[in-house]
Amino acid sequence: MGDIYIFDIPISIGTMLYQAFIFSALVFVVYKLCLKKVINMLDERRQYILQQLKEVEQYKREAKSKYLEQMKELEEAKKEVKQMRENSNKQALYILNEAKKEANELRKRADEGMEGKKGA
């Protein structure tokens, strides 16, 4: 039954040798033919996806900073518009006041002229 006996248990070396041969053949053939390629491909895909995620993250950050910039500019533009409006209002009031003053002056002068004529 067996080639050698260990503690009266028969052990057939040929079976073990064949088993070792077929298993190592399987492992090496599968590694060389299939799994090397598959594992490399999986790693490549992982790298690709990681890179894509990184890029997306970067784009997101860029988009956010650009949005904030735009918001700031908009705020500034609004402020400017407000300032301009205030200025123009002030200017308008000033002009109106000046015009009123001038009109009053003219009226005064005219009245004075009229009185001078009456007196003469």
Partner: protein, 239 residues
């Protein structure tokens, strides 16, 4: 219940022909399964089989990462893990659906699980432990490898030697015991069902249940074998 083995003697070495047959069939099944999957491998448009293989590779990678503690291994280690887990799983369930026994003056069992024989499991265990040593020597060098035997104390040297043998023997015999016991109980149930129509109906349900349980045990044992292989590799690496 005990069948004799078909034995052939070549060059004064004995070969158990039933194991030669079944282990060759197992290796062929595993090889074809992986070959068919890898042939149609597409990185961005996976088929169902490919998803299964990818899951298995990631599963083994996770085990290896937990046990060895590195982020990237040589792809050979992963490939070995995938081959071992598939080979043992297929070998475990190979004897479940049927068994072939040639009746004669001495009944000869031709078809059974190859892992229900201690020759197969012990060979696999010896190969795995030897591969663990090889891997350690490759990664750490001869000097550190031998230093590992006298760390942390010199007095532990005999223990470390014994540890290597005990881990090898437990790795092989655990698998053998589980699968052998499963097949013995299965053949007992089938033999009990043979004795009459009523018995056949009575014993069909436990036979069915036990077969399902044996598939579960086969999967668990394959997982345990791979995990322990990586445990021993990782232990050599850091122990």
């Amino acid at each position: 219940m005990m069948y004799t083995r078909p034995i052939a003697k070549i060059f004064s070495l004995t070969f158990d022909l039933s194991i030669v047959l079944t282990s060759t069939v197992t290796a062929l099944i595993v090889f074809l399964l992986i070959l068919i999957t890898a042939r149609n491998f597409h990185p961005y448009n996976p088929t169902k089989l490919q998803v299964a293989l990818e899951w298995l590779i990631e599963f083994v990678r996770k085990i290896a990462r937990n046990m060895i503690g590195k982020k990237n291994f040589h792809p050979f280690l992963l490939s070995l893990g995938v081959c071992v887990i598939l080979y043992i799983f297929v070998a475990n369930i190979l004897g479940l659906p049927f068994s072939i026994v040639v009746e004669g003056e001495r009944s000869v069992a031709w078809w059974k699980s190859p892992t229900a024989d201690a020759h197969v499991t012990m060979t696999l265990a010896i190969m795995m432990v030897l591969f663990g040593h090889y891997y350690t020597i490759r990664t750490k060098g001869w000097k550190n490898y031998f230093k590992g035997y006298v760390k942390p104390f010199k007095i532990l040297f005999p223990m470390k030697i014994m540890e290597q043998f005990s881990s090898m023997i437990t790795l092989g015999l655990r698998l053998f015991g589980c699968i052998f016991a499963g097949e013995v109980l299965l053949s007992l149930l089938v033999a009990a069902g043979h004795s009459g129509f009523f018995h056949a109906i009575l014993f069909s349900i436990p036979t069915f249940l036990w077969q399902a349980f044996c598939i579960f045990v086969g999967a668990i044992q394959a997982y345990i074998f791979v995990t322990l292989t990586f445990v021993y590799i990782g232990k050599n690496e850091y122990g």
